[in-house]
Amino acid sequence: MVTNATNLSRSGLSDWLIQRFSAVILAAYSLCILGSLLMNPEMDYEQWRALFSGTGMRLFSLIALASLCAHAWIGMWTIGTDYLTERHLGSGATFIRLIYQAACVLLIAVYLLWGIEIFWSN
């Protein structure tokens, strides 16, 4: 057992399942948006806005946004622990990796909160 403090769920299995479930949700959300655009190719701004103003679509958007954030963190964490290691960067790797992880968390948190504000304001 390799101990970890910074991966999303502390468990390899949970992270793996979250990544797969979130991918399915994101695929469904993308198909939903794509379908709406294909069914209404002349869509104007008001119709676009109306599409996202229903509670159902807002909830779906929120779930998709949360899925995107979880998916992104697991992916970015994996990339960081693959390439930002002592093997590649020498003794300063841990510090660089922590800075990278903190920057990713901050960015994802900004996108999450910003997204919630966009979907749920008005």
Binding site: M1, V2, T3, N4, N7, S11, G12, L13, S14, D15, W16, L17, W77, T78, T81, D82, Y83, T85, R87
Partner: protein
């Protein structure tokens, strides 16, 4: 990189290991491991024209044939001791981690612990691994995290004991593997399957371990 010109006996499709023997006649200082020369001991794993394999069972016709250039490199990702000899300590350490032996605390019967033919058949394709390290050293996940990712060879053996009906430590074995590195660093690119000189399928074994983890953990 040293270059040698070797004369291949006419009409013969000799093995890469035989080519190395001819090279050693020219330069006795060339170092490589070899033992059984028939693909059983796993000593002479090396990279031949970019592909890992066992020199003793790889005919030169498979790597270009007579008259072509044969580039031999040590197994990738492991520290080189000299020429084609690599330090396999970390590979064996990962193998050791999976406790590659039968664990059964029940009192031993008067005769051996029996298995049904069906249970025995579950070990086919698993026990044949010769630990040549061709698979693990062909795996980018093992290159990046050789101290944390067990690697295809170790995981094939992990599943060999998880699948064994006589082993009673299944839950403990699975608990040891449920972290983001040991099993889940496998991305399923199947480099291991492509190079295994024994024709084994570590990716499928890793898939079975994942399924067992899901069954146990959900």
């Amino acid at each position: 990189m040293q270059e040698f010109e070797v004369e291949i006996p006419a009409g013969k499709d000799i093995m890469v290991l035989d080519v190395l023997a001819l090279v050693k006649e020219q330069d006795p200082s060339v170092a490589y491991r070899r033992s059984c020369r028939e693909g059983v001991c796993g000593s002479d794993g090396m990279n031949m024209n970019g592909t890992n394999g066992l020199a003793c069972i790889t005919p030169i016709s498979e790597v270009g044939g007579p008259g072509s250039k044969l580039v031999l490199r040590p197994l990738p990702g492991l520290p080189v001791i000299r020429d084609l000899v690599v330090d396999m300590s970390i590979f064996y350490k990962q193998f050791e981690k999976v406790r590659p032996y039968l664990i059964n605390d029940e009192p031993a019967p008067a005769i051996e612990r029996l298995q049904s033919p069906e249970d025995r058949a579950k070990l086919d394709g698993l026990y044949e691994c010769i630990l040549c390290a061709c698979c693990s050293t062909n795996c980018p996940s093992f290159w990046w995290n050789p101290d944390k990712f067990i690697g295809p060879a170790g995981l094939l053996q992990a599943y060999r004991f998880l699948a064994d009906s006589r082993d009673t430590a299944t839950n403990e074995r699975l608990a040891d593997l449920d972290d983001p590195f040991s099993v889940f660093r496998c991305r399923g690119i199947m480099n291991c399957v492509a190079v295994c000189p024994k024709g084994l399928n570590p990716t499928r074994a890793i898939g079975h371990i994942r399924s067992m983890l899901i069954s146990q953990g959900t």
